[in-house]
């Protein structure tokens, strides 16, 4: 482990992002170089990642993480020993798909916006900065570091919406910023409370796999429930979870295409990731107590998202509400807190990132090809912009869960996890019925947009420019690849450093890291 791969990743993405601000008219080339380099490092990390748990070395590695790097940032002296805030990074089976997703989505967004004319250096710099922040969140294993990156993500997105957005961009940007910032403040308070009430001697949550988890167990159930509730709010706004979702449609509608792609493709995943990484393993009693609440909110999000998509006229709003539906399934799968559930959640986040990224690109292209995203006023796209219509069809079919595309294994696993859980069982009917509605609104939307006699402004209609095709094709390729061979991404997930997940029959729940569970699958 000579090369500090994760630091290199963060350094390249952060420095590259700042450097891009000063590259003037070469910004797009700089952005391409940085995002390609980032993706390259991520692929390198994937290659180095051991497909089984490595349990020797320092606390971080014993916690199930790989490529760990630990540097003390600063310390507090205290009577009971040192109290350190660390630069601690590492990856496991949960974060690996997420950093891959982040790098891919960013590259696709950069390529898609190749011809961006409005302040390209600022635009590309902010896109890369968002990516850097997300990567930081996904690899950091220290509460403060986590929060710093978490906040870094908000600022570039605020500007992306506020400067490059649509007509109501100021309102949407402010709403996005204030709403998610309130959530992150609540989250931060809860995280600090966990650290101090739990009596940790550092901000590292990796250490929780040793001593600190026992400290957490000293917290009474009501306190845990309070903390868990706060984290659920904090992460749930990001997810987003009904009823804290209303910032999302506004933000998406006003955001530039690339902003929407990042927002749906990566930012929403931060919420699910936080729930998996921090809230659920560290507060087992709180999780158990609030399970009904989580379940209710998840089912509500699923049904609400699906039904609301049906009546949307704006293509972007439709995709935004369908995101709420899908992330509701993610929340449901996390709430179950079984191996299958968490695996499904990670897989679905990965799938949704690719698919919603594609769909937001399509929405953006529809907007600047036809001058509107209003579904009833455009029609017969297949006649005039066949490539765009094809992309729309692939995205829609993927999103509604067509087999051989990436969402299907994820949704199938999530529904199977739901069905297999005796606490939920027949409630699986709700997401299943939502599947019909999902199919309904996508098919209906395609009927109106793509088929029938051409409507809209025929003169303006020209098919996709090359960069947009390339950006979309990248995502389509991965959607198909991981749809046919989901095992490629799915097999790393159980190498997860998630604590307190039931290992399966015969083992004490919560006694070990998931990755150390005896029966790892994927035999021949």
């Amino acid at each position: 482990m000579d090369v500090p791969w994760l630091s290199l990743l963060l350094a390249v993405s952060l420095v590259g992002a700042f450097a891009t601000f000063f590259t003037g008219r070469y910004a797009r080339w700089a952005a391409l170089a940085v995002s390609l380099a980032t993706l390259g490092i991520v692929l390198g990390i994937m290659a180095l990642f051991q497909p089984s748990l490595q349990l020797n070395g320092n606390a971080c590695q014993q916690g199930g993480f790989q490529l760990c790097e630990l540097h003390t940032w600063f310390t507090f002296a205290s009577p009971s020993g040192g109290f350190s805030v660390d630069y601690l990074v590492g990856v496991d089976g949960i974060s690996l798909p997420m950093i891959l997703l982040s790098a891919v989505i960013t590259l696709a967004a950069v390529v898609y916006h190749w011809d961006e004319e409005k302040d390209p250096h600022g635009f590309f710099g902010l896109v890369l900065l968002t990516n850097a922040g997300c990567l930081g969140v996904f690899v950091s294993l220290d509460v403060l570091l986590f929060f710093v990156f978490w906040e870094i993500v908000l600022i570039p997105m605020f500007f992306l919406i506020g400067h490059w957005g649509g007509p109501r961009r100021s309102y949407a940007a402010l709403k996005f910023f204030v709403y998610t910032h309130v959530a992150s403040v609540v989250m931060f308070v809860a995280l600090l409370a966990m650290v101090f009430l739990g009596g940790w001697n550092s901000f590292d949550f990796v250490d929780t796999f040793g001593r600190q988890s026992t400290n957490m167990a000293n917290l009474s159930a009501p306190v845990q429930a309070l903390l868990f509730g706060s984290l659920l709010f904090g992460f749930g706004v990001k997810l987003p979870m009904v009823p804290f979702h209303t910032w999302l449609p506004d933000a998406h509608v006003e955001a530039p295409t690339g902003g929407s792609v990042l927002l749906a493709g990566i930012l929403l995943k931060l919420g699910g990731y936080g729930l998996i990484r921090l809230a659920s393993p560290l507060l087992p009693l709180g999780r158990t107590l609030l399970f009904p609440v989580m379940l209710f909110l998840a089912l509500l999000s699923i049904v609400w998202g699906a039904y609301l998509s049906l009546s949307q006229r704006d293509l972007k709003r439709l995709v935004a509400y369908s995101s709420i539906n899908h992330m509701g399934i993610v929340l449901l799968a996390i709430a179950l807190w079984t191996q299958l559930g968490v695996m499904a959640a990670v897989l679905l986040m990965f799938a949704h990132g690719l698919v919603s990224g594609l769909l937001f690109m399509v929405s953006g292209s529809v907007h600047h090809t036809y001058g509107t995203r209003d579904i009833p006023s455009v029609g017969g796209m297949t006649a005039r912009t066949p490539v765009l219509a094809t992309m729309l069809m692939i995205g829609s079919l993927a999103s509604l869960g067509l087999p051989a595309l990436v969402s299907f294994p994820a949704e199938f696993s999530a529904l199977l996890a739901t069905w297999s859980d005796p606490r939920v069982h027949y409630l699986v009917l709700l997401p299943l019925m939502a599947l019909v509605v999902t199919a309904g609104f996508y098919i209906w939307m395609m009927q109106r947009l793509s088929f029938g006699p051409p409507r809209g402004i025929p003169d303006k209609a020209h098919d996709l420019p090359f960069p947009e095709v390339m950006g979309m094709s990248l995502l389509v390729g991965l959607i198909v690849l991981y749809g046919i061979l989901p095992l490629l991404i799915e097999q790393v997930i159980p190498v997860a450093a998630i604590f307190g997940i039931p290992c399966g029959a015969g083992t004490v729940p919560g006694a070990t890291v998931w990755g150390a569970c005896p029966s790892l699958p994927f035999g021949p």
Partner: protein
Amino acid sequence: MILGLGGRSLGKIHGWLAVAFEGAALLTGLWIALTELGAAHPYHDASFVWLGLPDGTNFVMGTLVSPLGALMLIVVNVVGLLVVLYSNEYMAHEDGLPRYYAELMLFLAAMNGLVLSDNYLEFILMWELVGVCSYLLIGFFWRKPEAASAAKKAFIVTRVGDVLFFLGVFIFFSSLGHLTAPPTLAGTVASTYPGTSCPASPVDPSWSCLGFTFTLPNGNSDTPFLSAGAALQAANYGRSSWLPTLAGLLILGGAAGKSAQFPLHTWLPDAMEGPTTVSALIHAATMVAAGIYLLAITSIYIGFTLTAAVVIVGIGGFTSFFAGTMGLASPDIKRVIAYSTISQLGYMAMGVGASSVIVDLTNPLADATLNASGVPMFHLFTHAFFKALLFLSAGAVIHAVGTQDIFKMGGLRKAMPITSTAMLVGGLALSGIPPFAGFFSKDDVLGLTWKAATQDGSWMLYAFFGFALLGVLLTALYTFRLWFLVFSGASSRDLPPADEGHGHGAPAALASSSASEAHGGTKETPAGATHSVLASSSAPSGPAHSPAVHSGPRDPSWIMSVPLVVLATLAIVAGFIPLIPGFSNLLPGLSWTVMGECVSHCPSGAAFDPTDAMLGGLSLALAVVGILIAWSFWGNGKVYRIPTGSALAVPHRILLRKYYFDEVYDGFATHVILGISRGADWVDRYIIDGTIRGIEEIFSQASKTGRRLQTGVVSNYAAWVVVGLLAFLVFFLYVVPWLVSGAHVSLTPGL
């Protein structure tokens, strides 16, 4: 083998390439089927792990050549090849041919994959692919709003069934633990289930339990599908449990969606908006056959409980009658045939249900080897040929006359001798007249149902059997109504004489033809103007094909005729195919019985069965009566329409409107579902988001004084973030520890 089949989806550039690929696939399929004829065990190969669950369960994509699968391979690829060949002429004038062939080949590839699936997950995967291909193909003429709408309807209605199917599979999975039944792989369970003699995992090479004897194919522990399922299921569920019944009904739901059974039948008639070739494929070999195949394999590998089996018989029997009534009224040549498909699929479903009644899952004394799913599959086999024949003949007619309204045709027999003969053969086969194929297979299904009814003794089964018998009468009636109206008589009624057209259609007529045609996906040749006269009247919408220039209706060229002749031959001889030695391997439980006299594949001790003879005679008599009634109303050029105002007008209108199912479903979708959605949208905008905006408002009012802080400069905001962060640090480092326990107030920050 996989490569040979998978590679077919590559054939997309040109029709002939597609023909070549499909021909190769047919040869492969035949080779597989022939191998299967002589094989003692199904061929099974687990190819690769598709998805692994954290509990150690692997979902494996494998290949299973089961007897029924091999039979289906023959059906799919024979019909597929002929349809692709036929398309080369029929679709020659259309736009988007590469897309057409690509979708067609993907459709066939998915269907081949489906019948070669070795587990339910793979099955679902292929099942959905089949569904989406049919969606794309039905909507091939996407410029026409009707086609786009029909495609949407097909997708969503079948999706309802799919969701039920998913849930059924989930029940199997959670009850049995596996979709492919690899419990020995896990190696964890060895005991028997409490209170039974059933082993908890398959025992190599065989075991018996609850009166069933189970053998692992090939002695392979990774058993395909759930061949071990019945024992495990019966043991797991408990015999009186309702869960297997529920699972069976959910599976039926999926099959009903795909195979257009009542009450999910509404999409199939609308699916006629697709090209006729696609209709032929969907109806004969691919889409709708998948549902019956699902029922048949589930019946063999898992089994249905008695309740579920009776419901299947009921749905099937009722559908066979119900669809027939609608076929009686439709004026559209393709829709009549579509209703006949729904009706025939009803027979097949009924046959599966009947064989499941006989081999009742919950009856420990039942002999699983008596499962007679081969009987309905035999009907599927023969039906595929004569239904493809009917559709392709109808396509030839439409191609020649440019309308789909049978009341506008007539007397085409002389002009189109090949087509009319082909269609006559198809019609006779459909009606069940010997020696045509439908007679043998339909009689077997009826005989099986009768056997199930007598064995079970339930009045319900007799009632459903009655429906099915009425269906026989209706089938003959509407089929020959169609044939007489189209072909009999002296000459065309409304068609312009052949020499009047010459491509100078009245512009007004052209303009008044439906807008869909003007913008339509069908590219009109100049002569098309002539026939838009027809389209301008109230002809059912459809791809108004233009006939060849300068001539009236006539038989198509060899490209379209060859498939007709081949299919007609098959429609005649398919009924005798079980006489081929070894073929019984592909049709489990079928004994080839004619009029009570068992000829081939007889059960031991078979003797002349007078009941069966009577049944055969009865259904034959009903069919003949049906044809005679049709003759009396429509034969020899007569055109009988229900007079308006007569007593029959009201039921006729109900039938024409398809019992108002569309209205009810559409109303439900647009008013209830969309209404809820709009209401929810309002709540979302004004209540949920309104609350948020209300909070914003309160804060903005309250912070009027602090407005100078809101400089809009983000660095200032960032500063505030830092300030807040520090405040939290202070709070938690000093205040909280002090609050929690007074002892820790001595915490002092270093650095």
